[in-house]
Symmetry: C2
Subunit: 335 residues, 2 copies
């Protein structure tokens, strides 16, 4: 049986480009004891993947040259030598940018109930993006009714969910986006109260949209937007550092205005968030999100490609902000 | 009755210098209803006072030109038109750099039990410095036995107490100081396990003294020392931004390497700390500290001047690191 795999062919600095990858055909080896074969249906395209291939400080070692590109995916078990996962089960896990994954239990992130919601939502709203949005917003952001919650990359896979969850908590929500069009989309589809186009003067935008300051700053981008937002944080504000998509490389770290004084005088709390620290909560939070989705309380949007070989370019597009909603590659139909 | 007062004569940028102050003689006005007269005994000289006179972002409006320099002090009530404070009581409060303060209840920080410990300790170990050290270390730092706790301005009024409190929690303590001599003093007198002289290569010092990373970074200085420490933080490390003494001016904010990536990947939490947010805990924490002091568990050192007119230069000396331990001005004997 044949497999197609996207492998990392050279080590990128900054955002990986299509030239850093190769598509190869391989034979699928026979399953060993405990292994099972996952047929991928949806592959995820995530900003975090830059960190998986850069040789920089990160929370996991980078993908080896010649290795299959690390990615989460949703697939179905089509062969099994495992007592834990049976043929026909749907799984969400580290199955990579490939048609098939010879998997072990260690790669599985969550088991999927395929009847609960459209299968693709298990990669976004009910997947890492939704889980990240929910847990980071609540654990670090501690939103209270009336708080102003400002979200960067607000139309993105995480930001679009953060805005809606904050709104459900009774917060005022402000989207930071790359264009007026995306900003209007945030208002129309994700219920944001206002938006700031970051290509226009930030300080003015912040004064106009956050007159009482920002209580919760959910930051997916880092860099100059945050520099401006710190000057508009409310006392005792909470800052969630969830991503750093605007900074192309951290070696060496770029410079920016120091934040120590704002952190001190405004009594801010800044925390980094990585979803993998919260494995014990995932199943229960997925249930909460699935119930919200079933009740029509959450809107989502997907930007789906259909070619495995298009995945590297899709990642470039995500970094350029050319996607709207969750970027996915669908490899096959299911049912 | 005559009073001597140090007033702010012009608005400094950065660290205030003696030329920004004048010593004046004034008459003490008759007390109004609710007022009482405090005879100052000890005046405090604190790094935070820079923030009281700079026209920059801070947590309180600056001292007006012509106003008495804001400072905490310990004094005794010598006249009273107040039902709350009787003649003979010792108080700790915002009594300013002057011989006498016409006070109201709003200026009182804590009532002092003069028999509990030497009176001067109520400005340092049992005053804002000790309270800051204790509450910030515990509330934000959450020290556990075995943690590495790194402290900047480690020989200073707050740092010297932080090191001892962390040691009592079973932590490894590392002092950052401006000289080998001060570092050795931290080891000998405050029980620090190791020190880093920040005039030597920081990265090397951090590698040598914090091989397992820094779990709690108690930062009183901001700037380049912190830049290096972030690169040595342990995962899930806690950073207390308690002061910014190394940065002469924040208008405009100086630049430094961005921290967003370290905060994210190391899952750091950075929080600003201001003691005035914790008024409800002060009395109980003073009792804890007083008991530790009575049990011989805490060492303290004072650097005492005796001339009111020397206070501005004393503040310059504190910023230059020329003090060892808590800097005070004693105006008179007591008993």
């Amino acid at each position: 049986m044949k497999n197609r795999q996207i492998i990392l062919s050279s080590r990128p600095v900054g955002v990986p480009q299509p030239r850093h990858f190769n598509l190869i055909d391989t034979d699928i080896p026979a399953l060993q004891a405990g292994e099972f074969l996952v047929e991928n249906i949806y592959l995820s395209v995530d900003p975090a993947q830059r960190g998986y291939v850069n040789d920089e400080n990160n929370y996991a070692p980078p993908v080896a040259i010649g290795g299959v590109m690390r990615a989460v995916a949703v697939g179905r078990v089509v062969e099994s030598n495992s007592d834990s996962y049976a043929v026909g089960e749907y799984l969400y896990g580290w199955f990579g940018w490939q048609d098939y994954c010879v998997a072990t239990a260690a790669l599985v992130f969550l088991r999927i109930n395929p009847g609960r919601a459209p299968l693709s939502t298990n990669l976004g709203l009910l997947g890492m993006n939704g889980l990240t949005a929910y847990i980071a917003l609540h654990d670090i952001g501690k939103p209270k009714a009336g708080d102003t919650v400002l979200v960067t990359a607000a139309a993105g896979a995480v930001g679009s969910i953060v805005g809606q969850l904050a709104k459900l908590e009774g917060c005022r929500t402000v989207a930071v986006t790359s264009s007026d069009e995306k900003g209007q989309h945030c208002i129309d589809d994700y219920g944001y109260d206002a938006f700031i186009n970051y290509h226009k003067p930030l300080d003015e935008g912040l004064r106009a949209t956050c007159p009482d300051g920002v209580d919760v700053f959910f930051d997916n981008v880092a860099g100059v937007i945050g520099d401006a937002v710190y000057q508009h944080m409310a006392w005792f504000g909470r800052i969630i550092q969830c991503g750093t998509i605007s900074i192309p490389s951290w070696v060496p770290p770029p410079e920016g205005p120091r934040k120590e004084r704002e952190i001190l005088t405004r009594r801010l709390t800044v925390s980094g968030f990585v979803i993998f620290d919260h494995m014990d909560k995932l199943d229960s939070v997925v249930e909460v999100l699935a119930a919200m989705l079933a009740d029509g309380k959450l809107h989502y949007q997907e930007d789906i490609g259909y070619r495995l070989e298009g995945a590297p370019q899709a990642l470039v597009d995500v970094y350029a902000g050319r996607n709207t909603g969750k970027k996915l590659i669908q490899l096959r139909d299911y049912l």
